[in-house]
Amino acid sequence: MSQVDKSQDSLIQIRDVGFSFGDHKIYDHLDMTIPRGKVTAIMGPSGCGKSTLLNFIGGRLKPDTGDIRVNDVSVPSLNRRDLYALRKQMGMMFQSSALLTDLNVFENIAFPIYEHTELPDELVKNLVLSKLQMVGLRGARHLMPAELSGGMTRRVALARAIALDPMLVMYDEPFTGLDPISLGVIVKLIREVNDALQMTSVVVTHDVAEGCSIADYVYLLGQGRVIGQGTPEEMSGTKSPEVRQFMGGLPDGPVAYHYPARDYKEDLFQDWPDD
């Protein structure tokens, strides 16, 4: 499988990262390179730490060891002011969308613009409408978040994530819980927005088909490290049993179907309640 050419223009470098939640080791010597201007999918089973990786890139968490560099800046060593300056160049779409529930659609998208710029209202209006036009929700600008469907909520969150034209947009499980039409819309939008605005996108997902359909490059995480990487075509044709199990959605394999337990027969003849 090909690896990202480290000499090529990369936006994010993750080097030798180790991280634990209490006794549970999430990452062990993790190395990744996210190319600039591309859509990179980070896939892996639930609980393998995909979203944690986005929190590292955004500086909301610090790794125990190693370094994360975004645009050649070491994120863990930034002070608060510099971190916030870097975040202005990032957009993030959360799994829950994280729209501000007391603001309507228009106000949600205008929120980061008003917070970080002193643009006149007329210009802000035009900016917001252009983003809404991009996601097809210009007509829904007066609706409150509670009045939106799941797919519309994600589209508004996407429009808000790109409100300041960031260099990087991170998507945390953008395909989860969507109906087929909304799913198709989000898949199309992520690709189109990335290409139209010439930004870099990192999509964290466990949806293999959708992830592979838009990604230029795929990383597969498992057991705290990268267990597979390559273009979607390379990932589909791999012989690695771990990658094949995930890509094919096989219930048993290197990731066992059964949670570790003692012998079944032993369990059946054990006095109940057991110790």
């Binding site: 955004g58 975040r87 990032m90 501000l100």
Partner: protein, 259 residues
């Protein structure tokens, strides 16, 4: 051995929590300094925590004043001192009942609402979303709410006291046989601006600070689940109420005791 270990864990957790709350307060006070430039945000929150609490404060103040009038009259009349009813009602309200009951009602109405709102914002990733938009939630969400509670609480206590005095008047003068002029004159002669009113205002300012701090911190520190928000809301009401009653004893000792 287990109980000693549990006690130790409880003490360590409590100290850690107090440390977190103090760091949170420091950050919030810095945030207040920045948010003063955005008056509109403060005004919105004063409306949410202050104006929307007026009804419960007004109704409670009226009933407390009426009960004070009734009880005070029944006691004073035995000593032929019913002419002091206005003074008794006013002193009870300005020194104690106004600040304390307002703070308890404020904790129940506005404090719990603040905790639930902030806790839900955390549970639905709204605070995380702000952080990722390079907007500090302590500055943008916590500081205006904290400042609003701090501003609203003394005003609500003043309102409670004023309406309570009117409630006492309605009962004492309207239903019982206390003379209207005597009711107001006894109050005018007996209530001292510094010893009574100012001390009451100081109490309400301190209670406003503490109740709002607890409410905002509990929301910010809540576990991001529905159960976590529910627990945080309950903790706000319980801790804030106990803090108000405990602080009231300390402040009263400092202000009015001769010891």
């Amino acid at each position: 051995m287990t109980s000693i270990r549990l006690l130790g864990r409880w003490v360590i957790n409590s100290v850690l929590r107090l440390g977190r709350a103090t760091m949170f307060l420091t950050a919030t006070l810095v945030g207040v300094f920045w948010i003063l430039r955005r008056f509109q945000l403060i005004l919105q929150q004063v409306f949410a925590v202050g104006v929307l609490t007026v009804l419960i404060i007004a109704v409670s103040g009226l009933f407390v004043g009426m009960v004070l009038g009734l009880q005070g009259y029944n006691t004073l009349v035995d000593f032929g001192a019913e002419s002091s009813l206005g003074l008794v009602v006013a002193l009870s309200l300005t020194r104690e009942l106004g600040p304390v009951l307002t703070a308890l009602l404020f904790a129940g109405r506005a404090g719990s609402a603040l905790t639930a709102e902030i806790g839900l914002m955390k549970a639905t990733s709204q605070l995380a979303g702000m952080e990722m938009m390079a907007v500090d939630p302590i500055e943008r969400v916590m500081a205006p709410r904290f400042l609003a509670g701090f501003i609203a609480m003394p005003l609500l206590a003043a309102m409670f006291t004023a309406i309570g005095v009117l409630g006492g008047y309605l009962i004492g003068v309207g239903m019982l046989s206390v003379d209207s002029g005597v009711y107001w004159t006894s109050m005018q002669e007996g209530v001292d601006v510094y010893d009574d009113i100012l001390n009451g205002v100081i109490k309400s300012v301190v209670f406003g600070f503490v109740v709002t701090w607890i409410a905002v911190f509990e929301g910010y520190d809540a576990a991001p689940t529905s159960e976590g928000v529910s627990r945080a809301t309950t903790r706000t009401v319980v801790i804030a109420s106990l803090a108000v009653l405990g602080l009231d004893f300390i402040l009263t000792s400092l202000m009015f005791s001769e010891i």
